[in-house]
Amino acid sequence: MTEDENRIIEDTFGRIESLPTLPSLALDVIMLAENPNSSLADIALLIQKGPSMASKILKIANSSFYGYSRKVNNLQSALLILGLQEVKNIVLAISILNLFKKSNKGSGFNHELFWMHSAGCAQVARSLVAKTGLFEYELESFTIGLIHDIGKIVIDQFNHDNFLKIIHLIQQENLTFLDAEVQVLRVNHAQIGSWLAQKWLFPPELIEAIEYHHNPEKSKNSQILSSVTHIADIFCKAKDLSFIEEFKGESITDNSGWKIIQKKSSRNNLRFDIERFVFELDEEIAKAQQFISISQGSDT
């Protein structure tokens, strides 16, 4: 983003003290997971400090999200089965899902649908990279899917009047979300989201993927992740999974993000059956729904 755009975001959101920060537990888990010397026992010890986190991880490990046939009884086995990176991902997801729980009343912003869309994107992105043979992006694509639109929540919660103006423009003038927010704020939610991710000290490739999830061809270092998120976003909207009606229909094969994925796919000899992928999405979305309800569930 340009210096001007960065300044606009700083001026609008930079001084807000109540801007959410990642809980220290999440930060500690991320740090530990990045450290090659840390053991599963270290992580287990850390997670057990937050009892609700541990119980949610167990619930997720035992849910149809993973579909293990044997019951996972304790955190240590969950860590063994899921692996360190996967657990880090779950901790991050649970933390973020609980940061923005509350809805702004009468705002035209349905949080439940918003998170359904985000978790749907996360799951679809993950399935997409698996089906196109881009396995090394599986974990990150899930995370990005979940937080790609976080800028929209920031606008709703911390610049609410402008959020209402944006919604009004979409509904009255038939604009897309992107066009409407640039008209009102001169920046978009992708830029605001990446600015927040920067504040949260996210890894650079994730920050960049958030910023370019609507125009992946412009990304320099995170083209695949931005493309995957962009395409997963379209698939979810095609399944009517969206908190506002603004999607008019799109071709996947014409999409620049799709072309990037195809080029990098290790399975470029195979033609991807888009229709079949769409038919199978219901199942992915059901999994996402379950992930959300466990993550946001009560702490017992």
Partner: protein, 293 residues
């Protein structure tokens, strides 16, 4: 998250042999017809198939799968199976998400395109219209959408079917309550008149919008007379044709479609591998195919 066999648990089809066979038949059906049963629809898939297994007096799905592949009657069994898999008695407003896309994206786009070109005609072809519920539904949708402006448009809706008996019913336009199960009271009041025995007759102004005629997709002389169709509805018809024939029909559709026009097939159908020309568009709630402008 890496391996996600979660559906297995949900449907109870995980480690049993039958589940594996059912998935094989599911993929076989997709390969033969383009008709796809997602994992959350496998229960109904199984129920419908078991009707055929019973009729043929076979003992298991495995035997049925073998029969489909190896029996000299396998080809004709395919037709019976497709009947079984797609036969939900047809009704007005069937597949609402798809009809919403027709009313929203498709009509909006076409009307904009026509207005730009200074044209005012809209031609819609309901291919395999059976007893007429689909073309009448499309007429009602257009009346609802256009309201008073309908007079500014020249609308033609054509219904074609290979069954003359079905077409006679369509022409009469009298339906029972069950065919109106998806229609709101408002719609019924506005577009139908109650007749004897709890049946309803479609009102004259709707009937006038639709023309029915005999259609055999394999008869090129009939298809050759068609042209300038803006939207083709062809739901659950292609599944009955061989792959080669499907390709021919799809390319015929492409020829009779106007540039920028649309093809809509059944919500569980796919043109994967059959279509080189249409562009697949993902719309909210449904897939549609669009001819290049």
């Amino acid at each position: 998250m890496i391996s996600n066999p979660s559906w297995d648990k949900q449907t109870g089809l995980d480690n049993d042999h039958e589940g594996v066979v059912l998935l094989k038949i599911r993929d076989f059906v997709y390969h033969k017809s383009g008709l796809y049963f997602a994992k959350n629809k496998l229960d109904s898939f199984k129920k419908r198939l078991s009707i055929r297994v019973e009729i043929l007096e076979l003992n298991s799905f495995e035997e049925y799968y073998f029969y489909l592949q190896n029996s000299p009657l396998g080809e004709s069994e395919l037709q019976h199976m497709f009947d079984c898999l797609t036969s939900i008695e047809t009704c007005f407003f069937r597949d609402i998400p798809q009809l919403n896309v027709f009313q929203g994206q498709v009509l909006m786009d076409l009307m904009n395109l026509k207005t730009q070109k200074g044209q005012n005609s809209l031609r819609i072809f309901s291919c395999g219209c059976a007893t007429g519920e689909e073309p009448y539904t499309l007429a009602i949708i257009m009346l609802e959408k256009l309201g008073h402006n309908i007079d500014q448009w020249q609308i033609e809706i054509m219904g074609g079917d290979i069954s003359s008996t079905a077409l006679e019913v369509a022409q009469k336009g009298i339906y029972n309550q069950y065919s109106l199960r998806n229609s709101s009271k408002d719609i019924v009041n506005r577009y139908f008149t109650p007749v004897d025995d709890g049946n309803y007759s479609i009102k004259e102004h709707v009937r006038k919008m639709v023309h029915f005629s005999y259609l055999n997709l394999k008869d090129e002389s009939i298809m050759g007379t068609m042209h300038s169709i803006d939207v083709i509805f062809c739901r659950n018809v292609l599944i009955y044709f061989s792959e080669e024939y499907k390709k021919t029909v799809v390319s015929q559709f492409y020829d009779i479609n106007t540039p920028g026009g649309y093809l809509l097939i059944g919500p569980s159908e796919s043109l994967f591998g059959l279509n080189r020309s249409y562009k697949l568009l993902l719309c909210p709630g449904a897939l549609v195919y669009k001819k290049q402008t």
